[in-house]
């Protein structure tokens, strides 16, 4: 029920904002505009709510892309210990990680003229070394555990052991990483904004955060609205996902 209420709230906000037009810029807080208006004359609270919605959707896609890339590489790296493929992936990631992210971002901005693609690719590439190394390290450690050997000895295929034993047992380590990736993905456009590239008018919690800092002396409520948007996005995702279940014991596939 709580989940549907949240979804309803977000949809209602979207409809309300879509129906409202632009007013006078930099208006002080009032009953009509509780957080005032921004430099484009938009209601700051409505922009914050919409930004949370837009960033949540964008973040899910971008984080999904990054996790898929990383999981693929991590599985390839941890499938067999001491394989040549694993060594090549390791070296490639380390080389990639050593070059400042800013330089990779610039290469992408120059090479790809489409900003959303730069955002998705930049974020995926930026998080790839971190995600792959953490996921692969944990999967590799799990593959060496005695209960995985038991599962293998009981006749389960390698694929089944991977999905039913290795991945569930790796969750305590992987869940916080996934949360961080999702949060970073939702606000990724702000990182590109820091380099001085990007459209300040677009909706997104990252852009709002940067604008909040830039206008802190003129209109501090923009930053407050940005923080509220981040919190609302977190609370919505938390409510939609439900309480994470704590792992109570090592899981071995049943016969």
């Amino acid at each position: 029920m709580k989940r549907w209420l949240l979804v309803g709230l977000v949809v209602a906000t979207y409809v309300a904002v879509a129906a409202s037009g632009r007013g006078v810029e930099w208006q002080a807080p009032s009953l009509q505009h509780p957080f005032g208006t921004d430099e484009y004359g938009r209601d700051a609270l409505a922009v914050a709510l919409l930004s949370a919605l837009v960033s949540g959707a964008k973040g899910a896609v971008v984080a999904g892309l990054a996790v898929t890339f990383a999981l693929g590489l991590a599985v390839a790296r941890s499938w067999r210990t001491k394989s040549a493929v694993g060594a090549v992936i390791d070296a490639g990631l380390l080389i990639f990680d050593s070059v400042p992210l800013l330089l990779w971002l610039l290469v992408l901005i120059v090479a790809v003229p489409h900003p959303p693609t730069v955002l998705a690719l930049g974020f995926s590439l930026g998080t790839l070394p971190f995600l792959t190394r953490v996921v692969a390290g944990e999967l590799q450690r799990q593959w060496r555990q005695p209960f995985v050997s038991v599962a293998r000895m009981s006749g389960a295929s390698r694929l089944r052991v991977a999905f039913e034993t290795v991945l569930p047992n790796a969750l305590p380590v992987l869940r916080p990483v996934a949360i961080q990736v999702l949060g970073s993905a939702a606000a990724a456009e702000g990182l590109i904004g820091l380099v001085g590239v990007g459209n300040r008018e677009q909706l997104g919690i990252g852009t709002m955060l940067i604008r909040g800092r830039e206008h802190i002396l003129i209109h501090p409520l923009i930053l407050v609205a940005a923080l509220l948007a981040i919190f609302l996005l977190f609370a919505s995702l938390r409510a939609l996902a439900g309480q994470p279940v704590a792992p109570s014991n090592r899981q071995v596939p049943s016969q």
């Binding site: 080389i95 190394r133 916080p176 990483v177 704590a246």
Partner: protein, 291 residues
């Protein structure tokens, strides 16, 4: 002992090779970039004199020559005509203490979270999840805003921006490590090996100490990456707070497409990351040592 020596040599060789490969990759990238990157970053508006001065100052050594000089410990000269080594040393003097402080905070938070983890199946609290979810660069943005508000007409002690910079670089890795430490530790405290120790009368503190070793083994890949994450966070925080160090140096270097300086920065970053990775590989307990 021989096996250990071979493993150490293998890890050291890999670390050395990847540092050199990263250096070559950065050199190649920066050679491709200059004109368009300068446009993207808004340097197209620079006066022709300033731009020609910058171009004239740029070194034109080929990569073979760079490698030969590197073998002699010469990192070259930056676009400003200052030896890269001097620039790096000056930035390191500012950034390394901040980085060590940030890492210390992260590891201390992880230790505290692990030590106080409840002995029941649990997950980290909403507060930790939110701190982990908050965009990593967002902490630097907030720190920079706070400094801006504090310095409005009132001089603030230099220690405050320094502390805020280190805190904002540490916040995200610290939340990640602490949240993970709490969950992993709780997991071990409820595992059969802990129950067995409890049944044999071993004290709770002793069990926690023993479980810390297992938890450490699980968290080593994250810890190793946290060092790279803190370095990236520091680069952004220093840039936003306008503090001297790796952040301002990196942004300035990339903006100017200064290949020599960038080579030095990448060499330093790659060495730090490789060192962290090498240490993690050496510290990791073998499966026989666990449980």
């Amino acid at each position: 002992v021989r096996f250990r020596a071979i493993t150490t040599a293998r890890h050291a060789t890999i670390a050395f090779a990847t540092v050199l490969a990263a250096h070559a990759a950065a050199y190649a990238l920066v050679r491709v970039l200059p004109p368009t990157a300068q446009q993207v970053l808004g340097l197209a508006g620079w006066s022709p004199e300033l731009r020609s001065g910058l171009e004239g100052a740029r070194q034109t050594r080929d990569y073979g020559m760079i490698l030969r000089d590197l073998a002699r410990g010469d990192l070259g000269v930056s676009a400003d005509g200052v030896p890269v080594r001097t620039e790096l040393a000056a930035s390191a003097r500012s950034s390394i203490p901040r980085m060590l402080f940030a890492l210390g905070l992260g590891f201390a938070a992880a230790f505290l979270a692990a030590w106080t983890a409840p002995a029941r199946a649990t997950v980290a609290t909403s507060g930790w999840w939110f701190l982990t979810f908050f965009p990593p660069y967002g902490y630097s943005v907030l720190a920079a805003t706070l400094v801006l508000l504090l310095t409005r007409g009132v001089p603030v002690p230099g220690g405050i921006p320094w502390l805020l910079c280190a805190l904002s670089a540490a916040a995200s890795p610290m939340a990640l490590l602490a949240g993970q430490a709490r969950t992993v530790m709780s997991f071990h405290l409820t595992a059969p090996h802990s129950t067995y120790l409890r049944a044999n009368g071993v004290g709770e503190d002793r069990i926690r100490l023993l479980c810390l070793r297992n938890a450490l083994a699980e968290m080593l890949p994250t810890m190793e990456k946290v060092i790279a994450g803190t370095l990236t966070g520091l680069v952004l925080a220093e840039f936003l707070l306008g503090l001297p160090g790796f952040g301002l140096l990196t942004f300035r270097t990339v903006r100017r497409s200064d290949a020599e300086m960038l080579g030095g920065i990448v060499l330093l970053f790659a060495s730090l990351i490789s060192l962290a990775r090498f240490s993690a590989a050496m510290l990791a307990p073998s499966d026989q040592e666990l449980r």
